[in-house]
Symmetry: C2
Subunit: 472 residues, 2 copies
């Protein structure tokens, strides 16, 4: 089923993520946007490939020799990044053809998303590319990130240097997923690859799915789509990929009005939403509902094991959260678990009344040796055979020493791969919550911004692990 991803196709796609040599055609003026920023960002991130700035008005920039045109570059080029006025793009494409470059990222905008002249120009560069066997990413794209090799050619200043390696690949028809827009740094968010495919005149969601299917650094793929170019091909490929790795998709243009605007800003036709929904079901794609989910939900797959069943354990410091969590879990087929009798007894001996389906750590939180008790409680629950996944709610006091104690304890939980754990941190200090969340994720425990998001993460993780076994 579906066409296999040929080696030569893969080699070209690979040039976008692992180029050994990159030409950057654009403004080299210091600022927030442009070729200067692309080069600086790659240098900051430790990219080891060769970088060739191209601009007729400069001799040298950021310690690199500048070439007046692509054809003057004496060596072979794997990838060209073009960020110049749209009218000049075809000329540069022709130079790329002559230079036998195989991969081009067109950051420049003003193509099919803008007006008829832009659409004409987009067709022109696509024709040139097809004739020469060049693949184009874009136009109108913020480009690519590969966290493994420091290839982060962001055209906008992101304000931070590193993107933490992780196993989430994020692709979208927007630059809102790129480092200048999303706070990867502040969140300690780990990614394998990021790709904004922009107007996707050539490289599209199907190419990326196939590329990421065989990317060993990627364990989960999350994607924002406005349109689908080849319905049948998308269905075949996504079905094959989703059988190996979770594929999460947020698709807009659900309403007629939305679809119309979508068409106008990417220049692509939208697909009927009901057809798309049916296709997702058939292909085993996890369909997302909100923008934030694009980033949050993949974490459960990248950091935690899949649950072996639907039995939900809950640790909370207030009953309210337990009730909301149970309500929410029911949406995904999660069922709150009665603890096994031995575990319930053990919990009750740690603190009277703890051994209930919703473990309420509110009362023990008031005692002096609370952190010792907390460690005992959590370790005991994690031994319960009646639980497949755990929703863990932590209250951060306004005191940093608490945060440190929690983290010390979580270190001892590393290597647990029996239960899926989703955490929600709540408390009066936002900086402490942010710090604790980032450090917990560094330890491998995903933290979610909402209780509902945490439960949804467990829910889709269960549904993915249960796929093909009949619905609950």
């Amino acid at each position: 089923m579906g066409s296999s991803f040929s080696d030569s196709k893969k080699r070209v796609l690979n040039l976008f993520f692992e180029p050994q040599s990159v030409a950057v055609v654009g403004s080299l003026k210091e600022g927030y946007f442009g070729g200067y920023v692309v080069i600086k960002t790659m240098q900051n991130a430790g990219f080891q490939g060769k970088i060739y700035p191209v601009n007729p008005s400069y001799q040298e920039v950021l310690g690199l020799k500048v070439y007046p045109s692509i054809k003057e570059i004496p060596e072979e080029i794997d990838l060209t990044i073009i960020m110049i006025n749209r009218r000049s793009v075809p000329t540069v494409m022709r130079e790329c053809m002559e230079k036998r470059i195989r991969a081009v990222i067109v950051v420049a905008d003003g193509f099919a998303e803008r007006d008829e002249e832009g659409a004409r120009l987009q067709n022109e560069i696509l024709d040139l590319a097809k004739r020469a066997g060049i693949r184009i990413l874009g136009p109108n794209t913020a480009g690519i990130v590969n966290s493994a090799n420091g290839f982060i050619p962001d055209p906008y200043e992101p304000g931070y240097k590193k993107v933490k390696p992780g196993s989430v690949a994020i692709c979208a028809q927007t630059g809102m997923i790129n480092p200048q827009a999303f706070p990867y740094g502040d969140l300690h968010y780990g990614v394998s690859k990021i790709c904004d495919y922009g107007n996707k005149c050539d490289v599209d969601e199907c190419d990326l799915l196939e590329y990421l299917e065989s990317d060993p650094a990627t364990n989960v793929i999350t994607m924002y789509l406005e349109s689908i170019r080849h319905g049948r091909r998308f269905l075949d490929i996504s079905k094959r990929v989703a059988a190996k790795k979770p594929v999460l998709i947020l698709k807009s243009g659900r309403t007629q009005e939305g679809a119309k605007v979508s068409a106008s800003h990417t220049g692509a036709l939208a697909v009927d939403d009901q057809i798309f929904n049916a296709a997702c079901k058939q292909a085993g794609i996890i369909r997302l509902e909100k923008f934030r989910e694009l980033f949050e939900l993949p974490k459960i797959f990248s950091l935690q094991p899949l649950p072996k069943g639907n039995r939900l354990g809950i640790v909370t410091f207030t009953g309210m959260v337990g009730v909301l969590a149970i309500d929410e879990g029911a949406k995904y087929g999660l069922s709150v678990s009665r603890l096994s009798p031995e575990i319930a007894d053990q919990l009750n001996s740690i603190f009277p009344g703890l051994g209930k389906p919703v473990v309420d750590i509110g009362p023990p939180m008031a005692v002096n040796n609370y952190m010792t008790i907390y460690a005992d409680i959590l370790k005991t629950i994690l031994l319960d055979d009646n639980i497949d996944c755990l929703f863990n709610v932590i209250w951060t006091s306004p005191f940093k020493e608490f945060v440190n104690e929690y983290l010390k304890f979580y270190e001892t939980l590393q290597g647990n791969d029996q239960k899926t754990i989703a955490t929600w941190i709540y408390g009066p200090s936002i900086p402490l919550i942010n710090e604790m969340s980032g450090r917990m994720e560094d330890l491998g425990f995903p933290v979610f911004s909402d209780l509902e998001m945490a439960i949804k993460a467990l829910g889709i993780s269960y549904q993915y692990s249960n796929r093909g076994k009949g619905e609950k």
Copy 2:
């Protein structure tokens, strides 16, 4: 319809929020929890009423004389806060009776929410109270906040001193809304009153609705409920109140499992969810779906005027957000508006191509005098008679000077009361986003954590303004 809120009842309820003299019965040991914290928190917040600590083991605490028992206090007491072992609460209640105290907050837990003995004790104190005409808030409550007079008797250390005055009243059957749990300080979140009604053995959601109905400091009421004590009374009162001020309710216990756990942790019976839903519709209550909404959605009512219609304007720096916003807006009957021709022309003359239904400020963001253009764009749109409400998306660069420029511009927008504006800030630096959000809300412009939340805020604001005019 419904019973009117009698003056004497109101006077007693008022003692909970505006006491002139407060007795605090509990531990006076320095720490994270207890009477010491209650007193310190009130002092920090500038509470001007008299405070009488009660504890037989102390002479003085935090500069205040400590009394061995309530009856030793030589002056009249408006309110007593009790935070001692549950078994001793009836004794203190008897002292309150003798002292003719009318209002008591029982912070102590371990009552109907814990076990049979607790349920018996709860009945005992309730009986005592009824005989003496005392009103009880709780037991099992984190108490009250009145931002206007510094009455913030939080039993847990919140880590910050002030709660910013605002017009949102928040009530819940949980302490998760109180300052030790929710980051009012970091968020610059403005409230009028906060009340955790705990087990609500006496003072309940109906009392609070009636009290807040006539509270001039409160313009919007948001409430978390697990159970409703008197269905008919609730329906009558909420209908009356919702006609004057928006009433937003999050109710859990939707599923059978959830309802069961809810009953066990508050000791109250839950209500059938479908009946509750119908009641909300009838009463004009805005029903919430997620915990976070409890805090976020009221901001649109407290800070912005109601929209005069359903015509949605969108300013975004990327097309994707426009499409998602249109899809989302359709859920609430919002319709993306075609700009009026003069305004579209003006926008196009500021920057070519801007004058579309979704105003994409992405292209002008790349130009040098961007902030001047931005100010012109936003002010022009706000003049359009074709727009009732505006979803404004701001990208924060990683640079603080941008934030300051945005804020300087927003200052000039203060006093706009023609359109409802909801803002979403997105960018690579979380500290800058947080800072900008807080400062924008200080200026009166609510910022939402999600694009979907911002649209929902506009949506329910439109629906509330349109109530009784027939559904769209």
